[in-house]
Amino acid sequence: MAAIELKGLTKVYPGGVKALDSLDLEIPDGEFFALLGPSGCGKTTLLRTIAGLETATGGAIVIGDRDVTGVQPGARDVAMVFQDYALFPHMDVTDNIAYPLRIKKVAKAARAEKAREVGERLGLAHLMDRRPGQLSGGQQQRVALARVMATQAQAFLFDEPLSNLDARLRLEARTFLKKLQRELGVTTVFVTHDQAEALAMADRMAVMENGLIRQIGTPAEVFQRPANTFVASFIGSTPMNLLDGQVRGERLEVAGCKLPVPSSVEGRLSEGEQIVYGVRPEYMTYSAEPVEGAFGGRVSIMENLGAAHLVTLEVNDTLVQVVVPEGSEPPLGAEGFAVPKDGRALVYRDGNVV
């Protein structure tokens, strides 16, 4: 097991496209770390650069206390699960799991034994003679996991490990993966474009955009306090309300409503300043009665979220969304008020949180 450290890591593709822009990152030993971002943000390039499948154009990668920047992928002591699992179609499950050991010249009997042991642990015991083509998506994923476990590598790298599973299986696999990682205690970096997946599984995560890391933190930190409007709009299953506003005396004027200045930014704003006011729909309470310091408007759309409703208020031509628990849905067209919870409303100046 080992920590991973990136120092000023840069990757420029031939043709000048900057996929990674001088990244610094420390992943402590045993952590389950997520790389999250929209497609094209560089998260997969970063993972592949750690694996050695891409060559860094600048900076350094340290695994444990070894600088592996110029080292061949096979000599880095990492193991990787690919998005399509890359199980060799011409080998059965045993041979697939044992393949890394075959490369390490482990005797045939010993590696079959190891494959059986790992396979058993992942519930594959009855499938060991099958070819990957005869397995379901979930089984294939577990074979791919078994294969990296057989390597006993210093770190695991997962590229979108859940994206090839159907929606139901994905939730199950999420729990399974998290449990497995905890038990093995191997430093694991995984790439995903699904913010819910990253929030659910990771110990810590990095949100990336255009080759840059926009925020690093625990899922709770990133969800509650997005460092910038990009992260704010990317994280969360319902989009965060990001509304233009202005500082007016002791109040903020947003969408024509007067709101109290959040306590976290008190004294750090100047009069008349243009700001962006950010608050998640989940961090507001709904009231049918007029409330001081709230968004007041007309209920224009209701969306069912299952156990709650997402209510869209039309507030002076601006749309503000608020989550309402089941049982207290307002009728369409009614007058309603959304009250930001103190400590959960954020103010952004030039795109960054104040």
Partner: protein, 272 residues
């Protein structure tokens, strides 16, 4: 309703005519070998096998089939081996000038045909002392088939995910181990297709061996077949029919094998 019936009648008439057009020329090959004393006209065979005796007695017939096999397999092995190496490197490594090279290959394979190159190839064979050399002919045939083979195989390899190789690589496999453990098993269907394609091409090729092999003991089936029906005197129909059949059967079997095993993959130029 009547329109429908007229349409059906029209359809089956057309199909029957087409089938007749494509079947009638083939009938002789099916019937004559099994007919005692066959003539040019197709007649119902009496299912004799005496005609095959003629093959055994002919001094060059069986030998020519062996020569065909030698040329075809020799060329196919060379084509598959060399094309696979080149196609793999071209598919996986982005080298400077790669696209231009591929374009040139495609262009070459379509413009330099046996017809256009027969004069200089004959000259070349004379200069290099390759007349009557089966190895020389194999090399010339290989050179002619390689561009198309490289192109088809590269296409095939491009459609094979790279993640298999990358995965093996992260586990520490060396490039040669990757090729041996992963790439060759994965592209085996492509290699088989190209092999069969090359064999079929050489097996049926008449011009090059006709041009470059004058020693009758070295000539393949195509040339012997031609000699059998153009040499003076009355054509030996029992011999021609049985030899033609024996010489054709491997091609048909190969076709059946390929279409059964891989489905008839449409490669644009599976046969030229």
């Amino acid at each position: 309703m009547t329109r429908h019936i007229v349409g059906r009648i029209g359809f089956y008439t057309l199909i029957a005519l087409l089938m007749a057009f494509f079947t009638v020329p083939l009938l002789w090959l099916a019937a004559a070998p099994f007919t005692s004393d066959p003539t040019y006209e197709v007649s119902l065979p009496d299912f004799t096998f005496t005609n095959f005796q003629a093959i055994l007695e002919h001094p060059y017939a069986l030998g020519s089939l062996y020569n065909s096999l030698l040329l075809a397999v020799g060329t196919a092995v060379l084509v598959v081996l060399l094309a696979a190496l080149a196609a793999y490197a071209l598919s996986r490594v982005r080298m400077p000038g790669r696209d231009a090279l591929l374009y040139a290959l495609l262009l070459l394979s379509s413009i330099i045909t046996g017809t256009a190159a027969m004069v200089p190839l004959f000259q070349l064979a004379v200069e290099l002392n390759l007349i009557d050399s089966q190895l020389g002919l194999i090399l010339i045939l290989t050179g002619g088939l390689l561009p198309a083979a490289i192109f088809m195989l590269k296409d095939f390899m491009d459609s094979t995910p790279k993640s298999y190789e990358e995965s093996a690589r992260v586990f520490g496999a060396s490039p040669l181990q990757i090729v041996g453990h992963v790439v060759v098993p994965l592209v085996r269907p492509g290699l088989a297709t190209i092999g069969v394609w090359a064999i079929a091409n050489v097996w049926g090729n008449f011009l090059m061996p006709y041009l470059l092999l004058s020693d009758i003991e070295k000539q393949p089936g195509a040339v012997i077949m031609f000699t059998l029906y153009t040499e003076g005197g009355q054509a030996n129909l029992p011999l021609l029919s049985t030899f033609g059949l024996l010489y054709s059967v491997p091609v048909v079997l190969m076709y059946l094998f390929v279409s059964k095993k891989y489905g008839f993959r449409f490669h644009g130029g599976i046969k030229r």
